[in-house]
């Protein structure tokens, strides 16, 4: 019997495709890093998550999952007890010997970047989509995110025609201790910039500032990341303890904002557009809200 070469080729191609598709997608996921966990949920992977790290707090449903602790102090056996196929995290996770042990035990380690920029996000979402087996959805989510950011940028540009960009200082607060100011190359700086503000501090990373330096910076808007600062009494107490803060323009004008600190962990997350809209509405109080635009 002679085989039709065309048919044979088709068969071979079909078999190849089958073999490729047979490479199973990971079904049990452990996710490390707030933003990554949120993206996995946004891409429809929530059912596959079996464990998350201590920064993964959103959406509320994943708090019920097993917590594997702080991302730089992972424990090999604890993670293995969840029987994961894959561990997804950023370059911030460790320690390296533990990752090696996990890899030896057959857990796939997928290290994505935690850089706060759109190119990184595009690459991360593409990879997550591939691993979840739903690339179209990942592309859709990314396009939506981009679009919101573009709308946001347009809104900020419009608002800046009537009003100058405010000088903003973001303080990373651990209740009681000296707050750390966010400088260049941080997720906080990205947030301030895209909400239409100008970051007053110029150092790189997060630094503790002296009271005098704080007064000299004299920001027009203060952002706190401490959820316990919600409410008048808490703020009054903060100002009593830090007279330097109370002397800033932001305090005098009452322009104090609070954001969720988990927004700043593990790169750009899906809750950022909403946080940006809220921040920029407070930066430009006279402009119309983003959502009210045609």
């Amino acid at each position: 019997m002679r085989l039709n070469p065309y048919l044979a080729g088709l068969c071979a191609a079909f078999l190849c495709a089958r073999a490729l598709a047979a490479e199973p997608l990971p079904q049990r996921w452990v996710s490390v890093g707030s933003s990554l966990s949120e993206w996995i949920v946004a891409l429809g992977g929530q059912d596959k998550l079996v464990g998350v790290d201590s920064t993964s707090q959103h959406p509320a449903a994943i708090k019920a999952l097993a917590s594997i602790g702080y991302q730089r102090q992972l424990a090999a056996e604890g993670i293995l007890s969840l029987e994961p196929d894959i561990l997804v995290g950023t370059e911030e996770m460790g320690p390296p010997p533990v990752l090696e042990q996990l890899e030896d035990a057959g857990v796939r380690i997928e290290t994505l970047s935690a850089r706060a920029d759109l190119t990184t996000l595009e690459r991360n979402l593409g990879r997550l989509g591939e691993l979840l087996g739903d690339q179209p959805r990942a592309a859709r989510v990314l396009a939506g995110f981009r679009q919101t950011l573009e709308r946001q940028a347009a809104w900020v540009a419009a608002a800046q025609r009537d009003q100058e960009a405010p000088w903003v200082l973001l303080l990373l607060g651990h209740a009681g201790s000296r707050p750390m100011a966010a400088g260049r190359d941080t997720a906080a700086a990205w947030l301030i910039e895209h909400a239409g503000g100008r970051n007053v501090s110029e150092h790189a990373g997060y630094r503790a500032l002296s009271s005098e330096a704080l007064m000299a910076l004299d920001p027009q808007v203060l952002i706190f990341t401490d959820r316990s600062l919600d409410g008048e009494a808490a703020r009054a107490a903060l100002f009593r303890e830090n007279p330097a803060l109370a002397a800033t323009r932001a305090a005098k004008d009452g322009r104090l904002l609070v954001i969720d600190p988990t927004l700043l962990v593990g790169g750009l997350g899906p809750r950022l557009p909403a946080a940006l809209a809220e921040l920029s509405a407070a930066f430009y109080p006279t402009a119309r809200k983003v959502s009210q635009q045609p």
């Binding site: 917590s67 602790g69 102090q73 424990a75 056996e77 010997p97 090696e100 042990q101």
Partner: protein, 345 residues
């Protein structure tokens, strides 16, 4: 102070405790393995040709995770407790701990240097990076101890009181430098540093285990040979000299054992407090001050206590883990207080 226990009954109890600690440390963990599998996997690791289904997983967890971790705990606990006895003997003070000669603060300084500078350089050679922290901690511990010892030397004699004061001063200096590094560190590096300061047996690997095991074996064989000299030293330096012991050499050996032992332990597992202070003290309360009993008893008790503490550290919050320094202090301090209060009544 009269011994509460005879040496023989103490050793039987301690040997049982250590055996229990070793077995539990191998048998328990966040992944639950049937005891039969654990035993079979263990025997296979020691080269017995046994077969059984599901042995692969058990063998991997035992061989790659629990066994190195257990050996690390055994070595760290032993060497910290022995160094504690050596220091309490050298300073003739039951409140001495290995930190007095600056080895802990020196190691912490080395680690802070490695963590902060390593993070800011970023581009270390791949092969070296995982060992940089351990090497720096070890080198820092040795260097500071060497300076303390050197400052205590005068006219060919080692003045223990000056060494003690030099240790206090250098610990303060190291603390200031660590403070400087923490100031330079960013938020993430800071957390790494904090966790290192609390110690952990997590991520133990054979490559980092062997140097420590070697040091531990040498220290554990060497110090008991000096038990008589240490006993003589209890009477006072000149008395020990008149009894025919080479006191200068003894001091040098004690400092050397402590520096290498604690340096290696800290390099492998971070700062783990309390074992070096509490265990020798506890053993002295139980069997009296004879170093021929005190040294081996402390070694056994230190290893057992550390292994039990590690067991708690990995089981309480599973699948996450507690730093072991928290557990040793939480277990050790109240027990120690209880003994003190009971002893006074």
């Amino acid at each position: 102070m009269r011994p509460v226990l005879s040496p023989r009954s103490l050793f039987v109890a301690l040997a049982l405790a250590l055996f229990l600690a070793l077995w539990l440390s191998l048998a328990l963990g966040p992944v639950s393995l049937p005891p039969g599998d654990t035993l079979r996997a263990l025997l296979r690791l020691f080269g017995l040709p046994l077969d059984g289904e599901g042995a692969g997983q058990a063998e991997l967890i035992l061989g790659q995770i629990r066994l190195p971790r257990t050996l690390l705990g055994l070595a760290v606990g032993t060497v910290l407790a022995l160094a504690g006895v050596a220091m309490q003997g050298l300073f003739r003070n039951p409140l001495a701990d290995p930190g007095l000669v600056g080895v802990s603060s020196g190691a912490a300084l080395g680690a802070a240097f490695a963590i902060v500078v390593g993070a800011s350089l970023g581009g270390l050679p791949e092969a070296l990076a995982p060992y940089l922290l351990s090497l720096c901690a070890f080198a820092g511990g040795l260097a500071v101890t060497a300076v303390v010892y050197r400052l205590g030397r005068r006219d060919g004699q080692t003045n223990v009181a000056i060494m003690l004061l030099a240790g206090v001063a250098l610990t303060a200096l190291a603390g200031a430098l660590i403070g400087l590094f923490t100031y330079l560190a960013d938020d993430a590096t800071l957390r790494t540093l904090t966790f290192w300061n609390l110690g952990s047996l997590n991520g133990a690997s054979y490559a980092r285990l062997w140097p420590l095991l070697l040091v531990t074996v040498v220290v554990a064989l060497w110090l008991p040979r000096r038990a008589r000299a240490l006993n003589a030293l209890l009477l006072g330096e000149s008395e020990a000299r008149h009894l025919g012991f080479d006191v200068e050499r003894l001091k040098r050996e004690l400092v050397l054992c402590t520096a290498f032992g604690v340096g290696a332990a800290v390099a492998a597992a971070g700062l783990i407090g309390f074992i070096g202070l509490v265990v020798p003290h506890l053993m002295r309360l139980l069997v009296g001050p004879d170093h021929r009993v005190l040294l081996p008893a402390s070694a056994l008790a230190g290893a057992s206590l550390l292994l039990f503490a590690d067991l708690a550290a990995r089981l309480v919050l599973a699948p996450a883990e507690l730093p072991i320094g928290i557990v040793t202090a939480l277990l050790g301090a109240p027990f120690f207080l209880y003994l003190l209060v009971r002893g006074r009544a």
